[in-house]
Each structure stands twice: as C-alpha cells, then as structure tokens.
Symmetry: C2
Subunit: 198 residues, 2 copies
C-alpha cells in the first residue's frame, strides 16, 4: 500500500481527531469502508457543513450556526444570571448537570500574557458591557482554579467592581464521592479554606 492511496489518505486524515493514533485510525477507516459507508458519507457531509457554518454566538461567544445560540435566544432563561465559563464544552457540562437557568459568557481561554492571550482575546470588553446591563443581578465565575484561571477570575472581579453586580464563583472542594485520602493536596487546602458553617 503506497502512501498516496485514498485509503491511506483517509487513515492519515482521521489522525487529526484527538486521541486517535495510527492503529485506531486504520480500524476506523476499515470499519467505515467495509461495514458502514452510509455513516461515513453522513459524517463527511455533517463535518463539512459544521466546519463551514458554525460560528460564534454574537452574545455569549459559544459555538452555534445561528447569530445567537439557542440559550441566548431562549426567552425563558433567567436574564438576571450570567455564568462565565472558559469553553463551550463547559456549557454542555453545566447544562447536563446543574439546574442553572441563566445565561452564559464564553471566554474561550484564560488570561495568559506569555501566550499572547490578553483581555481582548477573551472578549472582556464585551463582558464588561454586559456587566453594565440593568437586568443583570449576579455573575457566577465557573473557571478552573489554576494559576491562570485565578488570575482571570481576579481580572474579571476588578471589571465587576464598578457595577452594582453580585459576583460569585462556584465552590472548589472535595468532589462528591471522593475519598479524602485520594484527593490532591491543593483541593484539600481549598476545601478547608472554603469550609462552611453548619
């Protein structure tokens, strides 16, 4: 099998998927070609359309093929709450797990001056404008508690200071069902610092 054959091109192209090495890519290519060509055609069609047509929501910056995403366009969501997340995938996780009914704002990353990611790349000017909208009561930071995440959270809290907004962050601590002895030290220290009265 030479490297230029269409089969090898397919195997090579499948390796752009995260977590897919040469063996998995080969298995996928043979599976589609031998057992499920219709699914392969469908995947090619949807993927092409998704790459071309999915852009960012003009209001919350999540991924959508419309001008506004389905959450921002939903009149039944609570417009007084705004949850600030790093990635569109965080919205999916929160929607599946929590009964949060407010809106979202997607930063698209964390402040990281060394990587050239400053306030503009995260759309913080647009976030500040939303902080000043009168219907907003509370903003909830749902950002990973890494060094860069904490710096980003600090920057955003400075932005919110001028407005009459309540700003909170989701709790950091021991995960549900987590055995204390297997929880890392940083999380345990956070859990102690954030202890709550009973």
């Amino acid at each position: 099998m030479s490297d230029s054959s269409l089969l090898n091109q397919l195997i090579e192209s499948l390796r752009c998927l995260p977590g897919i090495g040469p063996k998995s890519a080969q298995r996928m290519a043979f599976h589609l070609l031998e057992r499920d060509r219709d699914a392969g055609r469908q995947l090619a069609r949807v993927m092409d359309a998704a790459m071309e047509r999915i852009g960012r929501c003009e209001r919350c910056r999540t991924l959508t093929e419309h001008t506004r995403c389905q959450i921002c366009a939903n009149a039944r969501r609570n417009v007084s709450l705004l949850c600030i997340v790093e990635q569109p995938s965080d919205i999916v996780a929160i929607e599946q797990a929590a009964d949060y009914d407010g809106l979202y704002f997607v930063l698209g990353g964390r402040l990281s001056p060394l990587d050239g990611i400053g306030p503009e790349e995260l759309g913080l000017d647009r976030l500040e404008a939303r902080f000043n909208e009168p219907e907003l009561d509370e903003a909830i930071l749902a950002i990973s508690p890494t060094v860069e995440g904490l710096a980003t959270a600090h920057y955003i809290s400075e932005l919110a200071r001028c407005s009459s907004l309540r700003l909170s962050r989701i709790a950091h601590g021991v995960p549900l069902g987590g055995e204390l002895e297997f929880v890392d030290g940083g999380t345990l220290a956070h859990a102690f610092a954030g202890r709550q009265g009973l």
Copy 2:
C-alpha cells in the same frame, strides 16, 4: 443545546466511528471546531471521496480506488505465492511485519452458514480459478484459528486438492515474548500439537 443543532449533529455523526462514545465524540467536535477547522474540512473531503471511490480490487478483492490494487499491479511481486487472508486490514499487518513478497486474496470473512456467509460471499469460486493458474506454486492460509476459520481453511484445502499446488498455513503457537503462564489453553495446546524438531 437542542438535538437538532449542527454541533449536536456533528457529535452524533462522530459516534458512528468504532470505539467512540458520547464524551469522546463531543471532545472531537469541540477540538475540530475550536482548534483545527482545516483538518476537519480535509477529513470531510477525504472521507467523502473514500466512501464514493474506494471499491474492491478485481484480482484480490482488497479495498482500492483503482481496478487493481497496488500489490496486484506491482510487477515485482512474486506471482508464485498467494496468501489468503480474511480482511484487507490483515494485508496491512502482514506487509508491515513480514517480508512476504507474494500476492494476496481477501475472503472478506469466514464461512458461516448461519449468518448467510457461504462460498460465494467469500469469492471462493474466484479463488479456485486462481488456484488453477499455472504460475502459482504455493498458497498460504493466514486465517484466524477459530472454529469458523478452521472450517474455512478446510473448505479451501479441498478446493486446492485438485490442483498441483502446495498449500500451507501460518504457524499457530505461543507469541514471541509471551509468558507461558499467561497464554490461553487453546493456544498452548496448538503449540504442543505443532511442535517442531530441533
């Protein structure tokens, strides 16, 4: 996120890939959309072309976009040797590992009357025709030693009986680097039955 959004369609379509569950599909979709749209477009293009244009080699029945695959079309391969395998992926494995320079024949499965897979589905009539070609000296069976595989091998050995062909099968036994205590009983029994003089 409603189920009809293009993003959800992409996640659903990615699940047609073997070994990909909902979490992995979501991770792949977000990775392509946020970090590598060009790779996604390229994958869509190659996949569509592969599903439409890849057919079977008229001579060995492996997957190829040409009338004859690159191995059958290669004049430097040894036409006196024919290796009979179950799947096109077996050819890839043999080409990478062994310095076999003969030709191949792909059955596309094993005899399994209950599943409606008989001699015709495996192209055994075409295999019999190749057995009678004068340039062929030896046919090597490289079929998995399962019950169905052994039945298929037996059927093929009956086909070869009429011709002056040498028929062999690849050795079954303990894999290289395999610890005896961890090898399954069937393999060990095969290894004893197939012991070779020193």
